[in-house]
């Protein structure tokens, strides 16, 4: 009897694992084709030289990487991307938090305010870039028109190496702050109103309440947003194609755009692969941060 039971159980187990793998097959095939294989292939091809018709690609070890490290454009692009991340992340978060605090408070026209904050999020980056062209075009642009009211001379925002990256950064902040607001808004709505009442009774100022109670409670949300914003600072480059094409003289070029340019404009796949590997390593670090944080969160619950 027991034996029969065991046999039945192991049959059931075998059946379940068959079902399990069958259900996973389509996902496994596509994930292998478009995530795992390409990651390995990227690493592999970063170790080979660029093949030409006459001279096939040959194994060069880490030469593509040393080429990159000796390439001043690479360092400029890395510096640009660090600045892009270093400014868009905190500024977007600042705006997102302000927006959420306002959209969550008892203000008039709250519906309009929320819509206004969130709408840029649903636009394509390409469309957003087109809208901002209006502001940046020299002489005609809205910024110049406003400037001329105050007697300022015309600035070529996109054509000047000192301002081009800033123009890009502003569009990104405009696009992503409303998106991050949503997550803060959701988190704010979970804070019990008792806390605010208690703080009021204690005579705590609004600023103290914000700093001592709200911000610490929002910390997990902030970490989640930071990781997402880090990923965005790699990913959000579409507007470069419209606004600056990475110029002038590479002043606004970002890493992913540089990868695209190397691979599809200069047909230099090996160096593009080496750069891709470096980006994957950085994303891996972002992943590790998130996993560590998830660990911590389960600890506290």
């Amino acid at each position: 009897m027991v034996k029969k039971m065991n046999k039945h159980q192991s049959d059931e187990r075998r059946r379940q694992s068959l079902y399990g793998w069958m259900l996973l097959t389509p996902a496994a095939i596509l994930l292998s084709l478009f995530a795992f294989y390409p990651s390995i292939a990227t690493f592999w091809s970063s170790l080979f030289s660029r093949g030409t018709r006459r001279r096939p690609a040959e194994f060069v070890g880490l030469e593509n990487y040393t080429d990159l490290f000796n390439d001043p454009t690479f360092w400029l692009v890395v510096k640009n991307n660090l600045m892009y991340a270093g400014i868009t992340i905190p500024v977007s978060i600042f705006f997102a938090l302000s927006m959420a605090l306002w959209a969550n408070s008892k203000i008039s026209a709250r519906g309009f305010v929320r819509t206004a904050y969130f709408t840029p999020t649903v636009l394509p980056m390409i469309a957003a870039a087109n809208l901002w062209l209006f502001f940046y075009t020299p002489d005609l642009g809205v910024l110049d028109q406003i400037g001329s009211l105050f007697g300022l001379s015309s600035v070529n925002w996109l054509g000047n190496p000192d301002t081009a990256l800033w123009a890009i950064i502003i569009v990104t902040i405009w696009k992503e702050a409303g998106f991050f607001m949503i997550f803060y808004l959701a988190a704010l709505q979970t804070i019990p109103t008792d806390y605010k009442e208690a703080a009021d009774i204690e005579g705590a100022s609004r600023f103290t309440y914000l700093r001592r109670i709200v911000l610490p409670l929002l910390m997990p949300t902030t970490l989640f947003i930071v990781v997402n914003a880090m990923i965005n600072s790699v990913k959000l480059i579409d507007h470069l194609f419209i606004l600056t094409k990475g110029g002038p003289s590479d002043a606004s070029k970002l890493i992913l755009y540089y990868i695209w340019e190397m691979a599809f404009a200069f047909f230099d796949a090996p160096h593009a692969a080496a750069l891709t590997v470096l980006v994957l390593v950085v994303l891996g670090i972002a992943a590790a941060i998130q996993f560590l944080y998830l660990d911590k969160r389960t600890h506290y619950q």
């Binding site: 596509l30 995530a35 390409i126 990868i259 994303l283």
Partner: protein
């Protein structure tokens, strides 16, 4: 009586809202005016549809709309099928190696398809999907994010319902279709909204894998139309931009609450 801080809050919130929406409102207004009127802020100047007429004739927009529509549909169908099957496997089926495979899937959350453009291009070309709508969509179908979402949703289905359906003589597949899928409807809606708006707006990958009018989505078409080499007037670019964002923007304004809920449901893990 309102306190001073309340008034300050109102003013601040409204001011920021106006600043935030201004680029969109301005471009909307400019799309209906001549360039010289638009850049000189002639508020009283007459409205015109000329920009839309010129823009419409300047590119095969109808084709681009169709392509984008096909693209988001193909991706959504593929995602629904694949993430449903995989999500169900991870949520309700016991099999050896499950946890390990699940970690592999989660890893894909950080291997962005955007970063792997070079090799994905090689893969898509190798399997003969270059310059096809399926080729644009296929790398996104086995979305780790979708699998994760479906798994969470299926896990919350009470096991009693599963058992009841089994006693009724339902097959595994029948249980999935008749019990799990209907109960996960809110997740499907949320996922659909996020997926459609993401892929309606996607640019870099379609730019790389499309090479003809027959496959090019709106975003790529718009970028080509507005390229400075074409020397198109800025008001006409505005009109073209308004045309291409209109469907999604109108849908968003109507279903705003659902959109926001969808992004929340999808974002909070």
């Amino acid at each position: 009586m309102k306190s001073f801080t309340q008034i300050a809050d109102n003013v601040g919130a409204l001011l920021l809202a106006i600043v935030w929406i201004a680029p969109l409102i301005f471009a909307f207004w400019a799309a209906f005016h001549t360039t010289s009127d638009a850049v000189n802020f002639n508020v009283l100047s007459p409205w015109t549809l000329d920009n839309f007429r010129v823009a419409w004739e300047g590119a095969p927009w109808l084709r681009y709309f169709m392509n984008t529509f096909m693209l988001v549909t193909v991706i959504l169908i593929g995602q629904f099928v694949i993430t449903t099957l995989a999500g169900f496997a991870f949520a309700q089926v016991q099999f050896p190696g499950k946890d390990f495979v699940f970690i592999l899937v989660l890893l894909q959350l950080f291997i962005l398809p955007e970063v792997l453009i070079v090799e994905n291009y090689a893969v898509v070309s190798a399997i003969g999907l270059f310059d096809t709508i399926l080729g644009v969509g296929v790398p996104y179908m086995a979305s780790a994010f979708g699998i994760f979402l479906m798994r969470q949703s299926f896990k919350s289905v009470p096991i009693e319902l599963h058992e009841a359906a089994r006693i009724e003589g339902c097959s595994w597949f029948g249980i999935l279709l008749k019990v799990y899928v209907p109960l996960a409807k809110p997740t499907y809606i949320a996922y659909a909204l996020v997926s459609v708006s993401t892929h309606w707006n996607n640019f870099l990958w379609p730019l790389i894998v499309t090479n003809s009018e027959q496959t090019r989505p709106l975003t790529v078409g718009l970028s080509i139309f507005g390229a400075p080499e074409n020397g198109v007037d800025i008001s006409i670019i505005s009109a073209a931009t308004m045309m291409s964002i209109a469907p999604l923007l109108i849908a968003f304004l109507i279903f705003q609450r659902q959109f926001v809920q969808a992004f929340l449901r999808a974002g909070i893990k």
